[in-house]
């Protein structure tokens, strides 16, 4: 199946929210059993679980809307397991390989703080189902923001080795930041003129935390983009190959 032809802005927006949450959750789940200490391993896998749960809510809602308008019987599983990379609307940052612990934390910090300001707007959206999912997710993201910010501070303002590693991670991830706030038509349709204030609040928060952590923000303004339009890095293909193999090889199999 494909969702590429869908024009409805709400459905496209739900797919994007679900895709960002699912791919982040999947990447974080790679840390399960590999965290540096037990408590942080549990923290990151808890966050992965929250994100996959949020993805399920967005996909369930999107699947209902698509089924209603097309007559095709879709579920959350068809959206997660049976679409190809060109259907996915997640930002490129989410699909990048985890790298070391500090790089994973920094990526989580960028994504969680973005979701924090985005969901504050969605929580008051006139679509009550979307508002309900956003408000539920926000309670969880509140903890993700606190946790990832604390770690960015601890590592950036830590030893000279941790600082070097965080600076290198920042260089790697920085070109993928702008894509989040280059808004598509369907995002603007749902967010109205609020998208500008999300961008401002997010950038202010990023700068404040990175400054406090003593991390110098790279000067390059070059933006890697295309994820929202379905043009992905090669990494997404590998993620989908692993995630979707079972459903494609054994259609409709259940746990």
């Amino acid at each position: 199946m494909t969702t590429k032809q869908i024009k409805n802005p709400l459905i496209n927006f739900l797919l994007q929210l679900g895709d960002n949450a699912l791919i982040m959750g999947h990447r974080n789940s790679e840390w399960c059993g590999h965290g540096p200490v037990l408590e942080q391993d549990i923290a990151l896998t808890n966050i992965a679980l929250d994100q996959i749960g949020q993805a399920r809510n967005f996909y369930q809602y999107a699947a209902t809307l698509i089924s209603e308008s097309s007559g095709e019987k879709l579920t959350e599983d068809s959206l997660a397991y049976l679409r190809d990379s060109w259907d996915f609307k997640n930002c490129l940052l989410t699909e990048l390989p985890n790298g070391h612990w500090g790089q994973t934390i920094l990526k989580q910090f960028f994504v969680s703080t973005y979701q924090y300001y985005l969901y504050q707007e969605l929580e008051i959206n006139s679509d009550l189902k979307l508002a309900g999912i956003a408000s539920k997710s926000l309670k969880e993201i509140n903890y993700h923001v606190r946790w990832s910010s604390e770690w960015v501070l601890r590592l950036g303002d830590g030893t000279s080795e941790s600082k070097q590693k965080m600076l290198a991670a920042l260089e790697t991830l920085w070109p993928y930041i702008n894509e989040w706030t280059i808004f598509t038509d369907y995002e603007i349709e749902i967010l109205g003129n609020k998208h500008q204030s999300i961008k401002e609040k997010w950038e202010e928060k990023i700068h404040a935390v990175l400054n406090e952590a003593g991390l110098i923000i790279p000067s390059g303004a070059y933006a890697q983009r295309g994820g929202k339009q379905g043009n992905h890095t090669e990494h997404l293909g590998y993620i989908l190959a692993e995630m979707q193999f079972l459903q494609r090889a054994y259609p409709n199999s259940e746990w």
């Binding site: 408590e39 942080q40 549990i42 923290a43 808890n46 966050i47 679980l49 929250d50 994100q51 996959i52 749960g53 949020q54 399920r56 809510n57 009550l128 189902k129 508002a131 309900g132 999912i133 408000s135 539920k136 997710s137 926000l138 309670k139 969880e140 509140n142 903890y143 606190r146 946790w147």
Partner: protein, 166 residues
């Protein structure tokens, strides 16, 4: 509330959260409404239960659904419909006072303050459910399940879980 609705609420009070087995789903505050569409034969009445799940990824939701159905089936109700309402989202503010008391007895510190109030998260003084001391430290904001944080008591030196505000 009709007699039948009361009977169903009573049955629901005996279904426990699989992860925190001292709390019933009524204590948790996830049941929004019980409605009965009556027909002549009482046992064929349609029972409509509306609930709001706790956490986005709570793995217990499917199990709770099937336990509701099994319990009501055993009591003779066969025509059961479960409906999810996502708005407004569930919050720990809906947990009953008796539920919070049961949590503490069970060894889990109950949620303090209003959900998502950053000030109350910052200034949090969590009492040890074992010895009652307030000399406690958070070890990790994430613990054995999505709803809990891990704490340690400096007085009795025991670790314990705190049910986070959501």
């Amino acid at each position: 509330m009709s007699r039948l609705e009361e009977q169903i609420w009573h049955l629901l009070e005996h279904i426990n959260d699989p992860e925190i087995p001292v709390l019933s789903i009524v204590d948790l505050g996830i049941i929004r409404s019980v409605t009965i569409l009556e027909v002549k034969n009482e046992l064929q009445n349609q029972v409509l239960i509306n609930y709001t799940p706790t956490y986005s990824a709570c793995p217990a939701v499917d199990l709770i659904n099937s336990e509701i159905k099994a319990t009501l089936n055993a009591a003779g109700f066969t025509n059961i419909h479960l409906e999810q309402t996502l708005f407004p989202a569930w919050t720990t503010d809906w947990m009953s006072e008796s539920g919070k008391e049961k949590l503490i007895q069970y060894g889990i510190a109950a949620p303090i303050g209003k959900s998502c109030d950053n000030n109350s998260i910052e200034a949090l003084k969590v009492e040890c459910p074992q010895c009652g001391s307030d000399k406690t430290n958070m070890i990790s904001a994430f613990s054995s399940t999505a709803c809990k944080a891990l704490y340690k008591c400096s007085s009795c030196l025991e670790p314990f879980d705190y049910f986070k505000c959501h």
